[in-house]
């Protein structure tokens, strides 16, 4: 739904935010929304949001309408892979920011690609360290951790391979189990999936499943187990059972790019990879007032791993390679 914003004297730069899905997922799309909201606060731009609610018959039209409205169009969702290569050339004066894929060589298109596998690697490492931390209530010494995915699609698998690799990095014989709920919008399914994982011995379950993830958190609370959030820092939803979140700074990166475009400091037609290096992905431990489950050593370990990944000493696999 489009939020009308009062035309602001300072600048009347217009941003159109096109979402493959819809707002209210408390993760991916909401995070992108925060980006433009921030831009409005800080830079006084105005914006409209174009939601496609996962309806393929709207992708093209919404993108076109956004292009007609805006100076900068931020496209969010891998679903736009084809359109992002067609539409921009039709609107040469509009700048496009395409989030969550990698396309090169189109002058007015900058793509932002996140290394979700890198972030997930850290999440996996953390989970692996926690799952034997019997000092924490509800955790046993069994070396089992879990993940609930929304759909079995490349992006989500990318989360998984990173998560698994991270865990194995800490402890090779750790057992990492994944369940795909088959839906991004069915928390009940998410809860059952998580419940099954917890029942199977996992104490910590990472989710990459949008609204379905809400059910994972509920299961964690109900069974006195623990969960790791995704995309946004979701700890606030339930600080006592969500130990951390794998953050994908979609909003931040969109915000940065908008500034870059404004100040014209952008190399045209480029792919910007947001990995651990640019803090595009990472682990969030919430705010100070929240109980911290991860000990300082753990956090230190995480930092060490992070450094190694950035230096390239640790090779984080991606979904595509896995399939080979």
């Amino acid at each position: 739904t489009s939020e009308e914003t009062p035309v602001d004297e300072g600048s009347n730069l217009k941003v159109g935010l096109v979402l493959a899905g819809g707002l209210g997922d408390r993760s991916f799309y909401d995070s992108a929304y925060e980006g433009v909201e921030m831009a409005k606060e800080e830079l006084g731009i105005e914006y409209k949001v174009y939601e496609c609610r996962n309806d393929p018959s709207l992708y093209s039209d919404q993108l076109v309408q956004a292009s007609e409205y805006a100076d900068i169009v931020a496209i969010v969702g891998h679903e736009f892979f084809d359109l992002s290569q067609k539409i921009p050339s039709e609107f040469p004066d509009v700048h496009y920011i395409y989030v969550d894929n990698a396309i090169e060589g189109i002058d007015n298109l900058i793509t932002i690609s996140y290394m979700e596998n890198e972030g997930s690697f850290l999440a996996g490492a953390l989970a692996a360290m926690l799952t034997t931390e019997t000092s924490i209530e509800g955790i046993d010494e069994e070396k089992i951790i879990g993940m609930v995915g929304g759909l079995d699609i490349p992006v989500i698998r990318n989360f998984y391979v990173g998560y698994e690799a991270g865990a194995k990095y800490i402890d090779p014989e750790i057992d990492v189990r994944v369940i795909y709920a088959g839906d991004f919008e069915d928390p009940a399914k998410g809860k059952e999936a998580a419940t099954a994982l917890y029942a199977g011995g996992a104490d910590i379950v990472f989710h990459a499943a949008g609204k379905t993830g809400e059910g994972v958190f509920e299961a964690a609370e109900e069974l006195g187990k623990y969960a790791i959030g995704v995309d946004a820092d979701q700890r606030y939803i339930n600080p006592d059972h969500i130990v951390a979140s794998m953050i994908k700074k979609v909003g931040q990166s969109i915000y940065d790019t908008i500034i870059a475009i404004q100040n014209d400091q952008i190399e045209k037609g480029k792919v910007i990879f947001y990995g651990l290096d640019k803090d595009g992905v990472g682990l969030g431990f919430g705010t100070e007032d929240m109980p911290q489950f991860a000990t300082e050593e753990m956090k230190a370990k995480i930092e060490e791993i992070k450094a190694k990944i950035i230096k390239g000493e640790i090779e984080v696999p991606t979904a595509k390679e896995e399939e080979k």
Partner: protein, 310 residues
């Protein structure tokens, strides 16, 4: 590995997943008996889920949530009945329209009431109480299976019995069935079939309301858009499967729940999720097929039973 799949949690999962299906399908089978196919259950469940949260959040009591959901259920049941029975509109269309209405309305109200999109959860939402059947404490297996469920799990089982008694053991229930099978016969007998049809539709609204509340206040403690997630349609399948008989429908609902639980667990063994998720659906078709085949065989047997030359 085997114990990963077949264990008590499988049964718990089955029960939990089946409950909303049972509740909704009990409502749907009443309209079925009254000669109305109600595919509006999906929307009715969604509305129940939403208003359950509303009531619980604002009045700080899960009972209030239930009552509000029931109230809305009655209204939507009346709406459905008015169009299908009085205006003689196509029940398919009205059902679909109700699903659309529920989809739009809940999203819209979610925003105008709670100012959020997508999902609403809050510690102020009071969940439904959970059972604590201490007398089961002794027997661990029964305890894990039957204890610590939300009230509606038990309500659904009780309702199965009540609905059965009503339909087959009371005059009123007999009239309801007659109103579907041969309304004219009922009318000439001095009973107004219209009233019976209305009643069935209102009860359906209420039961679907229960199903919704169970989702948003029992099973979970939150509301998300489209959280009914096709349960209305599966409930309808259960009704058709159980030939609108309360007990058979209950069995069908449990079957769905079981296949669903099985599917999720089989993923752990490494079967691609798309296939494990097919299990409930393919399973249903296969079971239907087996049932039908046996039925035919039985019929043949009857035929061979008796011979011409006596």
């Amino acid at each position: 590995m085997f114990k990963e799949i077949i264990n008590l949690t499988l049964l718990q999962h089955t029960i939990r997943t089946a409950t909303p299906l049972i509740l909704a399908s009990l409502g749907g089978l009443l309209t079925q008996h009254a000669g109305i196919l109600n595919i509006g259950m999906e929307g009715m469940i969604l509305l129940g889920a939403f208003f359950g949260v509303v009531g619980s959040y604002f009045f700080g009591s899960s009972l209030a949530g239930v009552l509000l959901a029931v109230g809305v259920g009655v209204l939507i049941g009346l709406l459905f009945a008015y169009f299908v029975i009085d205006l003689k509109s196509d029940e398919f269309i009205i059902g679909i329209a109700i699903n659309m209405l529920a989809g739009g309305l809940t999203v819209f109200l979610l925003r105008s009431i709670f100012g959020v999109k997508g999902a609403f959860s809050s510690p102020d939402i009071v969940p439904l109480p959970r059972s604590n059947l201490s007398f089961l404490g002794g027997i661990p297996i029964l305890d894990t299976i039957f204890n610590n469920h939300t009230v509606f799990v038990y309500v659904s089982w009780i309702l199965v019995v009540l609905v059965y008694m009503y339909l087959y053991k009371t005059p009123h229930g007999i009239w309801l069935r007659a109103s579907g099978e041969f309304p004219e016969a009922l009318e000439t007998a001095g009973i107004n079939p219209r009233k019976m049809k209305y009643l069935s539709s209102i009860l359906c609204g209420i039961f679907c309301g229960f199903a919704g509340v169970h989702l948003s206040l029992g099973y979970l403690t939150l509301f998300t858009e489209n959280m009914s997630a096709n349960r209305g349609f599966i409930a309808m399948a259960a009704i058709i499967f159980g030939r609108a008989h309360p007990v058979k429908t209950l069995i069908a609902a449990f079957m769905f729940g079981f296949f669903d639980a099985l599917g999720i667990r089989l993923q752990v063994v490494g079967i691609p999720s798309q296939f494990t998720q097919m299990i409930p659906y393919l399973g249903t078709i296969i079971v239907l097929f087996i049932v039908a085949k046996n039925h035919l065989r039985k019929k043949k047997k009857v035929l061979e039973g008796e011979s011409y030359n006596e």
